[in-house]
Symmetry: C3
Subunit: 267 residues, 3 copies
């Protein structure tokens, strides 16, 4: 940090198990990826190449190399997994992960109907090959999943081998965890956290108001995802109480809410 400020919330440092930021690249050029890591490598923990953008990305290997050399793991968005599965090309998908030397993969069912036992099978199989993130929640705004069901799905996917589970929100932040207006389904989040460990969940929160909401509820070290590259620095200031939105929050109640221990234990 460039100067000393007293009484800041304590942030976890890399490698982080929580306090984790997942950024979404939806088409950065090689040089833009270099620019991104030059600013954000310390503040980001993993980079998702959004949905199936990797399919139409030139010089994909060179781009992956930029992130790798900066110590940032990457993975292909879950929609790519689904695009292979719906075409009965799961084995091709596994070969693809090898070809690009990926160490992470996402398993999701945001666009397709996938029997949940079958989804857990995919998680289990891929877990032998890579570290798996699995995503719960539909991209379809009309598909409302009740809280007990979110909990059940998340727990089963963790049991099947997922390293962390992701709460779906899309790039726009208007489905899954959020109402179509972008408002957080707060009862849902709180109920999930009575059962699933805090550090095991990455909340997709692309909009600033959503990031602020999660940070106020769960502290500086909540795991957040789908962060646009240019929003990583702003997010880091929100986590630290150094932007208007959380400035007073962390000063007022910082000793109560922003300890580095996760606020919820595994039950």
């Amino acid at each position: 940090m460039n100067y000393d400020l007293k009484n800041l919330p304590e942030r976890t440092t890399k490698p982080r198990q929580y306090g984790f930021t997942m950024a979404m690249d939806k088409g950065l050029s090689i040089r833009e990826a270099e620019d991104f890591v030059s600013m954000c490598a310390d503040h980001v923990d993993i980079v998702k190449l959004g949905w199936a953008t990797s399919f139409v990305t030139p010089r994909l290997k060179d781009k992956l190399k930029v992130f790798k050399e900066a110590g940032l793991p990457t993975y292909f968005g879950g929609t790519l997994f689904e695009a292979f599965v719906i075409r009965d090309q799961f084995d091709d998908y596994r070969r693809l992960l090898d070809k690009f030397d990926m160490s992470f993969a996402e398993v999701s069912d945001g666009s397709i109907d996938l029997d949940h036992d079958k989804k857990c099978d995919y998680i289990a199989k891929l877990s032998e090959q890579v570290t798996v993130l699995s995503e719960v929640g539909s991209k379809d705004a009309d598909k409302i999943i009740p809280p007990y069901m979110w909990i059940d799905l998340m727990q089963k996917e963790l049991d099947a081998g997922a390293w962390k589970v992701i709460g779906e929100a899309r790039e726009g932040g208007n489905v899954g965890l959020f109402r179509s207006t972008g408002e957080v389904r707060s009862g849902l989040v709180q109920e999930i956290l009575t059962k699933i460990p805090f550090e095991k969940i990455i909340w997709e929160a692309p909009q600033k108001a959503q990031q602020v909401w999660f940070i106020k509820l769960l502290g500086a070290n909540v795991n957040l995802g789908n962060i646009a590259p240019e929003e990583v620095i702003p997010l880091e200031t929100i986590r630290l109480g150094l932007r208007g939105d959380t400035f007073l929050h962390f000063l007022g109640i910082e000793k109560k809410n922003t300890n580095t221990a996760p606020p919820f234990e595994i039950d």
Copy 2:
């Protein structure tokens, strides 16, 4: 493409007569233009320097060179044409096109009142010098043009020598083809297509929901314009059914709707 996926909609390849993407540059630096072409040259067919941004752009010739060397034609936005015409400087405008070695130009009347015969005269004159794109529709949200009139204007401009006609939407996507909310005037679009050939129209569709709407109605190879540089890769995935929004659409009815032939013939 970086890997094989079965049953993708067939995309036209360059040089494209349809399936065309027009990107809008509203102030990229030289290096950002280089970054853009490094990622998007295969996915973009033409670049518009938005409205009169060229007036205040440093090193304009160097920027044009970047696009030219990547095989991307460029043109100045129609507002620049209008700025010259309203000042009685049309001859200066023609010299300007020569000075910057432009091979395309846009003729529009989005901000000024221009007698339509006079507009067609400009199209005819400029057609002797460059390839002309002409634009139909007002930038004024209160000016509603009925469908038969859109058709009449488009046909006359094509007859006068326009290579393609553009349906106006502005950078914001909230006028012309769209209601102020950004919603597509769908009856208008469908009525236009009963008379004007599919491949002759470029639809300005800067917002994702608009792109999705056109692609679902008209297939992967609809001509779309006013695409922000960072949205070119995402748009390409939408065209291919590789983003949530069109994922199921292309799987379900792909053999019926996404043939490479344009869905509407010249009448």
Copy 3:
């Protein structure tokens, strides 16, 4: 400029006392900062490193150097000043300005409650060290300040030594001068201008509609702030009547409203 167009509104040139553009950097990389100055150095007068982003910015000195070499002064956002003051670290803040060789600073009370005499003391003290911009208006959407109060606060801060005063709007443009919808509180602006000199105020106006509103009311050479880097070129065209939004405005009434003299004199 790249070509001649008649009857454009006259723009002030650098160093500008009015017609001033303040851009906001919220996390540009070194190379992005270089790109920015390569396009915008002539069109921007000062760069703000938004709120406390400087705290988490790697290679901060290198970034400041890029702006300095382009002749662009920079300053740290007012939230950083507040972060030091609320922690009783004002002396550390003064040392920080020296350490980074800053010649400008912002004094604000957007996030904290600060007695106004005390705020004026800070302005007076910092004025001995640097050029001070002071900001009036709360970041809190519920805190409505009546016009006579804005005038009183602005006048006292100018008297205390502020070089210019800033009307608060945040990055989002939805508080202070603006209603939560982004609509301008127009009566407020007009009343302020009956007492405070035009050239002494920088209006934060991050949204295009807000920029257009101020330019239509106060002419091409109004001082505007919180402009995103990629909106500097577009803003310059709006000032010149070369974008649809102000195209007719400047043609129709240009001789009456866009003289280079500020429209309001110091009373």
